[in-house]
């Protein structure tokens, strides 16, 4: 892993942009928000996870109610057919929302490797500057020599190899 720090958000942006074709995994550590457009994050998987869990929960709960009233415990309610589905929609919708929110919550943790409470960058003293006025990034993967050369050309205030 290579850690590099810059004196300004502008320099960090240039560094991130120059690394884009390298195919390395870049994470930024900054004292202030970066613009959405320049943040090196790919589109998040959380919405897809939530959609999938919501649909699964909704249709699953609908199916559970259909099973319960049609096959498990059929009861004659006011002469209605066993498959009286309009009220199923309410519970199915609620359960779908619950599943979507739960999956979004857990999915967000999973994507951010939540149970893991430590990353290598935490031990890097220079990187602590990121909570004051340094604009940092860490690079995993890619060709280390080329990455170093690219970062060096932007003019870093700190640049070092760090064990992962």
């Amino acid at each position: 892993m290579i850690v590099a720090g810059f004196g300004s958000a502008e320099a960090l942006r240039r560094a991130v942009a120059s690394l884009a074709p390298e195919g390395a995994r870049v994470e930024t550590f900054t004292p202030d928000d970066l613009d959405e457009a320049t943040e090196p994050t790919k589109s998040s998987a959380v919405p897809i996870i939530m959609l999938g869990a919501g649909l699964l929960g909704g249709f699953g709960f609908f199916a559970l109610q259909a099973y319960g009233t049609m096959s498990g415990y059929p009861i004659n309610v006011g002469g209605r057919p066993d498959f009286s589905w309009p009220p199923f929609i309410v519970n199915a919708f609620e359960f779908g929302v619950l599943c979507a929110i739960g999956a979004g919550f857990l999915g967000f943790f999973a994507i951010n490797r939540m149970p893991k409470l430590f990353i290598a960058e935490d031990a890097c003293d220079e990187l602590r500057e990121a909570s004051r006025d340094g604009w940092f990034l860490s690079v995993r993967g890619g060709d280390p020599k080329r990455v170093r050369a690219l970062l060096d050309s932007v003019g870093p205030i700190a640049l070092k190899e760090w064990p992962e």
Binding site: G78, P86, P87, I89, V90
Partner: protein, 335 residues
């Protein structure tokens, strides 16, 4: 072009009034009940924006102001309904009215008195929204609940009382949500092209919220009627879920809720101007179908050329007037 459609529509529906008066009255009431959502929905959004602010309202303001300014068109548009009262409403027929339990409320003089009060309040609020500076919020705070209440009572008088036995306490709010959704859709069609990039996504989220609100209220009314299973309420749905109206019922679930909902939750579509305009046009068309579906079964009328002419005439004149007024000082001054 809107004026041409409106004038031709009014002319053809006038011909229809001579050939088949009953079809004309029901067709005109359906068209009026849809169109009225445009000025009143626009007015409510203008008043809400006065209180909340937000870039969505800045993007919509010229179109909402133009829509609100068309409210006086209600004065000529209500005439056919007043002339056709005994054709449209059982409570306005001298031979039937005495047998109705709620004739103390549903009778012609009281109906006219209530209507006049609503009209005066609406015109006053519209004048307030159009002529005063956007910084003036006090009247907006008082006017919004009054507008919601009077719209509820007015729409119950106009369309729910077609079936004097039908009871639904959510009816006014449901039709109100539909009216605001209709007005927002008509404002989004032009605003999707003129609004700033971020504001387009805001409009998409607002449309989504109103689609969900409308669908929630509509489904709840249906579910409560279905569960209580009482003949006078279920009969209202029976007439609207049999024959050709079953298609209109399904089409609303599919195209007034499911399809727009599925599209509007995608962030990429919320930011796409052409897609937003297309969804808004779809919602506006579905509002017209909804109006027919609500009103026409009460008169045992299908959608024929007279009903189509009434809808085109009413909405065409409304759109023509909105476009003409949109270029005047009246609408432009506080944009």
């Amino acid at each position: 072009m809107a004026w041409a459609l409106g004038v031709v529509g009014v002319a053809v529906s006038g011909l229809g009034a001579f050939l088949h008066a009953r079809a004309f009255y029901f067709g005109w009431l359906a068209a009026l009940s849809v169109w009225i959502g445009w000025p009143l929905g626009s007015l409510s959004l203008l008043l809400i924006h006065r209180l909340t602010g937000g870039r969505w309202g800045d993007a919509l303001r010229p179109y909402l102001r133009a829509g609100t300014a068309t409210l006086p068109l209600l004065l000529p548009a209500i005439l056919p309904v007043l002339i056709g009262l005994p054709v449209l409403y059982a409570w306005a027929r001298p031979e039937q009215a005495p047998h109705l339990a709620n004739s103390f409320y549903l009778n012609v003089p009281f109906f006219l008195g209530r209507g006049a009060a609503y009209l005066i309040l609406w015109l006053g609020l519209a004048a307030f929204a159009l002529f005063t500076s956007p910084a003036n919020t006090r009247v907006a705070a008082i006017g919004l609940p009054l507008l919601a209440l009077t719209f509820t009572f007015a729409i119950i008088d106009l369309t729910m009382s077609l079936d004097p036995a039908f009871n639904s306490s959510v009816y006014g709010m449901l039709q109100g949500a539909g009216a605001v959704l209709f007005a927002l859709s008509l404002a989004v069609v032009p605003a999707a092209w003129t609004a700033k990039r971020d504001a387009v996504a805001d409009l998409g989220k607002l449309l989504l919220a109103l689609v969900v609100l409308w669908a929630y209220l509509d489904f709840m009314q249906f579910l409560i009627v279905w569960e209580s299973n009482l003949s006078h309420d279920a009969g209202w749905y029976q007439a609207r879920m049999s024959g050709g109206w079953a298609w209109a019922f399904t089409a609303q679930a599919a195209f007034h809720f499911a399809l727009p909902f599925g599209l509007l939750i995608v962030p990429g579509i919320q930011r796409n101007r052409a897609a937003m305009a297309a969804i808004a046009v779809l919602l506006a068309f579905m509002a017209a179908l909804r109006g027919w579906w609500t009103v026409l079964p009460a008169g045992q009328r299908p959608v024929g050329w007279i009903e189509l002419a009434c809808m085109c005439g009413m909405l065409g004149c409304g759109a023509g007037l909105a476009a003409s007024l949109g270029r005047t000082q009246l609408v432009q001054r506080h944009v």
